[in-house]
Amino acid sequence: MNQTSFNNLLEVKDLSVHYGAICALHGISFELKPGEIVTLIGANGAGKSTTLKTISGLVKSSSGKIKFQDQDLNGIPAHKIAGLGISHVPEGRKPFSNLTVYENLRLGAYNTNNKAEIDAAMTRVFESFPRLKERLAQSAGTLSGGEQQMLAMGRGLMARPKLLMLDEPSMGLSPILVSEIFAIIKEINEQGTSILLVEQNANMALSIAQRAYVLETGSIVLSGNAQELREDPKVKSAYLGE
């Protein structure tokens, strides 16, 4: 395990976000310890994507604090936050469809020009996603949905992040592919990358996460051990369809 001097890799405190007059997050707080998989579950429109976008700097908060490795992220532009070791794999995967698979991966490691480092990162990505290796020269827009998710995750891993944030990796994928993707997420985590996982597929997310937070219209309404939340009657009825 990597030795770290801080308790929390990521700490979000009283975070509020507004889109104009709409309040998307009402002062949420949560944290993620080094090595953890933490999941943020909630229905459509709960504010999950907003949370990730605010951490990665795409959206500005109206109040509250975000600390990454004890550094305050407030006011740091998105492209610099990426360089601190946070990779955000956005909802809908967002491949650069006009670029090849190789180029997408290369841009994932935009902050480095070190050939050996890039090759090592790419080799590492191919271990998790061997299918990408066969498609390097192909335009990213021609990949299937599952392959695009793999590309988006691989692209995020190219920067060798300390924290990988995944926004609904299961969206639109068949159950078999979802299992495959979640197994890989677990494997990536076991190799030392902390993961903040946003999901509507609560069942899958709770099965691989250590801890979980339940988000409802911009507020955290429940939190705790993922296994325990899975047994919680409120979670069962609202999110697991039982």
Binding site: P77, K80, L99, G108, A159
Partner: protein
């Protein structure tokens, strides 16, 4: 037949100059979705930079060329930072009107006596003209230089955009700005680079125009700028090879119309072609059908 070939060469010469201007229109549009109406005036200022570097400072032609390109690159980057960047999140019409204002500013400011002055100036001749006779068709050393420089710059640009990391980043930014930032790409830097390259190419176009059509004045950028813009739309705005193709078509059609129909109709026919192409294929010759565009 030789007359036709001769006109084709003359048309290509004009087309290559248009291409150097059109590239800047299309690259800037690809990145920030802005029609930079001041671009034709950057071309004009490039011609003047060449004028002074060749005439006053007696620099050799290649150095004057590089100097004009650098000067225009800096000018383009400055215009973006001062005029367009503050409006990046404003409605697009605001930036468009600012671009028109910038264009007028550059034209009238440079017309002032203590800047370039309002008069036509004769362009310096950096070398004597030599004509080569190829079976009845004459090709001048100036034409060879126009073709050579333009093709060289376009090839370098293509390699840059296709092969370098910054080129990849430009394409990524043009496709999806938010996701590009998540890769660590500094959008402002990429926009600056794009304006710099586009303006530098226009500067090269200005110097080539100056030696090929040796009369310059502060409004000389208006028509070539408009034609290059039309060329960029014709080829498919935002698409680099489209701008080259559109510009060459525009140049050749313009010269052919003047030669075989009537000199007064040259502009009408050039713009008429635009209207016809856009009626048939609104996204331009190399553009994807609109429905596929993201």
């Amino acid at each position: 037949m030789t007359y036709f070939l001769q006109q084709l060469i003359n048309g290509l010469q004009l087309g290559f100059v248009y291409a150097l201007i059109a590239l800047g229109y299309t690259m800037v549009y690809g990145i920030v979705r802005l029609i930079n109406f001041a671009h034709g005036d950057v071309f004009m200022i490039g011609a003047y930079f060449g004028f002074y570097l060749l005439g006053r400072f007696k620099l050799p032609f290649p150095l004057a060329m590089v100097g004009a390109m650098l000067g225009c690159a800096i000018l383009g980057i400055t215009i973006e930072k001062l005029a367009y960047k503050p409006l990046r999140n404003a409605p697009r019409i605001a930036a468009l009107i600012t671009a028109m204002g910038m264009s007028l500013f550059l034209e009238y400011f440079t017309s002032l006596k203590f800047v370039f002055g309002p008069n036509y100036l004769a362009y310096p001749r950096p070398f004597p003209i030599v004509n080569f006779n190829l079976g009845g068709v004459t090709l001048s050393n100036i034409q060879i230089i126009v073709f050579g420089v333009a093709i060289f710059l376009m090839v370098v640009l293509q390699i840059f955009v296709a092969k370098t990391k910054t080129g990849m980043a430009m394409r990524a930014v043009s496709f999806d700005k938010q996701t590009a930032q998540l890769m660590g790409i500094d959008i402002s830097r990429i926009i600056s680079i794009t304006f710099g390259i586009g303006s530098g190419l226009a500067g090269a176009g200005g110097v080539l125009y100056g030696i090929a059509y040796p009369q310059i004045n502060p409004f000389m950028g208006v028509m070539p700028g408009l034609k290059a813009f039309v060329a960029a739309v014709l080829g498919g705005i935002g698409i680099i090879p489209g701008a080259m193709l559109g510009a060459i078509i525009m140049g050749v059609v313009e010269v052919m119309t003047a030669a075989f129909v009537s000199s007064t109709l040259r502009d009408a026919v050039a713009f008429g072609i635009l209207i016809i192409v856009l009626l048939i294929k609104p996204t331009g010759i190399l553009g994807k059908p609109a429905a596929e565009k993201v």
